[in-house]
Amino acid sequence: MSDARQDVLAAVRRALGRGDGATPPSSGRAVPQVTGDTARHAPDGGPTRGPDGTPRGYRGPTGSAGQAADVDLLVDRLLDYRASVRRCSPDELPAVLAQELEGVPGVVVPAGLDRAWLADLDAAGVEVLVDDPAHPLSHAALDAVGAALTACRVAVAETGTIVLDGAPDQGRRVVTLLPDRHVCVVAHGQVVPGVPDAVALLGEHPERPLTWVSGPSATSDIELVRVEGVHGPRDLRVVLVG
């Protein structure tokens, strides 16, 4: 039996008219074949092309973060997704978190979370479970705990998106998946205007497992009626600090 890998790659090369023996170019992006409308509708003088040859005439990374207008836009987008949003100063954070976690028997936190954030939880009667990679909690334990509290890596204002990248203050992916409430702390300085800014930041550690969260889980599968909370946390609470 011949090798599937070789056969598929040979079929691709044949389809491209290169013939089986052709040596593929080793690097560099081919000049895109821009056809039809793409070519005709290009701005005068042709689309802006990046060094890789792709026309990148769209708004790219801005390098800015924490702008007040972007923080406001993020709040607006999150509310549109029916997430709950609180804003507070760093000093107020422990008290606000205690309020956001009111009513749950316990909360799981990743091992790298700033412990100062938890200062008021004891008084509020919320038990804290720490998920330490060296001693990970079982799925059953995470399924039984009521809430998860984490930081995030970056938040995108324009789309109302929070991205977790598994750093020690965000924890394993399962930590924010099984509990029904996710309380996520976002610092103003983590809020970027658009998706390209977030991709540029995340590209510093592309190997980390990423979870992009935009509102609570939802489905519109039954007669297009939106139902919030199918499998992921039904209750997303964002606390903006700054």
Binding site: A4, R5, D7, V8, L9, V12, L16, R18, P24, R29, A30, P32, V34, T35, G36, D37, T38, P47, D52, G53, T54, P55, R56, G57, Y58, R59, P61, D143, V156, E158, T159, G160, T161, G166, R173, V174, L177, V195, P196, V199, P206, E207, P209, L210, T211, W212, V213, S214, G215, S217, T219, I222, L224, V225, V227, G229, V230, H231, G232, P233
Partner: protein, 524 residues
Amino acid sequence: MSAVPLGMPGRRVPDGQVGRGPTVGRGRGDAAVHPLPATPPSDPLRWGPSFPEAAHETLADPQLRANLRRATRTIRDKRLAVTGELPDWEALRDAGAAVKADVMERLPELLVELEASVVARGGTVHWARDAAEANAIVVGIAQGHGVREVVKVKSMATQEIGLNEALADAGIEAVETDLAERIVQLAGDMPSHILVPAIHRNRAQIRDIFAAGMDDAPPDLTDDPHDLAMAARAHLRARFLRAEVAVSGANLAIADTGTVAVVESEGNGRMCLTLPRVLVTVMGIEKVLPTFRDLEVFLQLLPRSSTGERMNPYTSMWTGVTPGDGPQEFHLVLLDNGRTRALADDVGRQALHCIRCSACLNVCPVYERAGGHAYGSVYPGPIGAILTPQLLGVGDTGGPSGSHDPTASLPFASTLCGACYDACPVKIDIPSALVHLRERATHPGGAATPTPTTAAMRVAAVALGGGTRFRWAARGVSVAARLTGGRRLRRLPWPGSLWTAARDAPALPPRSFRDLWRRRGGRA
């Protein structure tokens, strides 16, 4: 109401196969829940009669047509709202189109690079020439872990290869975890839309499907969508927690980092991609993207075009295996299954640029009236009309069954109105590809044999009949000009000539296509 619902005539069930789907009783209201087809079709890319015949069945079902109309219009309006608010939407489309064209040009190198990146991060890469090979790989992995059940994320690629049936044949149950897919699966049905696969079912039907098919359905289950979703949550949570092997598709994979992404709404994807020990991802070879940076283009294009949201609730990305977090064994299956056949056609190749957003379905007047099942393939709508025949090689010398194939009529299942082209986030020129494939379909293997009998006119009569005015006529003129780069749309060989003759009529009178058809001595 039709005795044979949903465009799924009984003869679509291959002879001699015994139904596995549950028999479900009548729902509230007039809509019965039909368990057809009782078995999945033997070929997910080609089932049932030709498009015109199947569309006849769909058109006779008022419930289905009302559901489709509502769904397509709702999603269409949402999409227009969220694409309209981006000042650089057209520039993003240009970038998406260019990246995809580049991917096709450099596909061999990018696949080798992706493989190396995934392997470097602890993953295993498999290559599959066809559906059978891909299925054997997945079945082998599941058997290697001794499991009887795998959890699945909705995936077009695994539907295309009939993976669930292959697993079932090996005694392994594949549990679909997307709500709509679970509905379809419990009903023993086929999806009718890429994005909302159960759009042909109403809430009363879904209640009955759950009551009959879920052993743990609450006895007092109502038909309220919230109750139904919560029943599915409880039903599936137990399966997520015990699953050891998950199977997913991929929306994209990044060659330079090995990062794979799944875009979803419900969180079932996160469950499958996080909880089990073993993850198997089946991905068409055309889904590779060159660089991590390209995410900034596709993570804007896809959600807005697909569900009409600024961003979908959840997107998961992983790169090989992350020690201590998520599956500790990751397999990526790279699937050809006809894709290189499509790649060889430099016009049809565009079909491989598709990011499966389903925008073209929601704007298509033929889809809205005929429904997804009429296309007889897991890929319905305009994209299905150009992708399915190419994956199968219809019209090629040595193609599976040449122009006698039911899918040979698919390129005719369109009015060429161009709405799909305008909606497509990666600017796939579906009308041009349709015209091109019509020529191929009418000249299989180069011989001028007009075998797809009057397909064009039959599609027109069926899909646009019933008194509907040919309101796309005026628009068609500009499309025709665009298709030919300013030249007049040339006449197609018969039977396509019937079509072009009608479309070229200088000013189509407000007369139904049915009338035109009759005047030509046809029979609707």
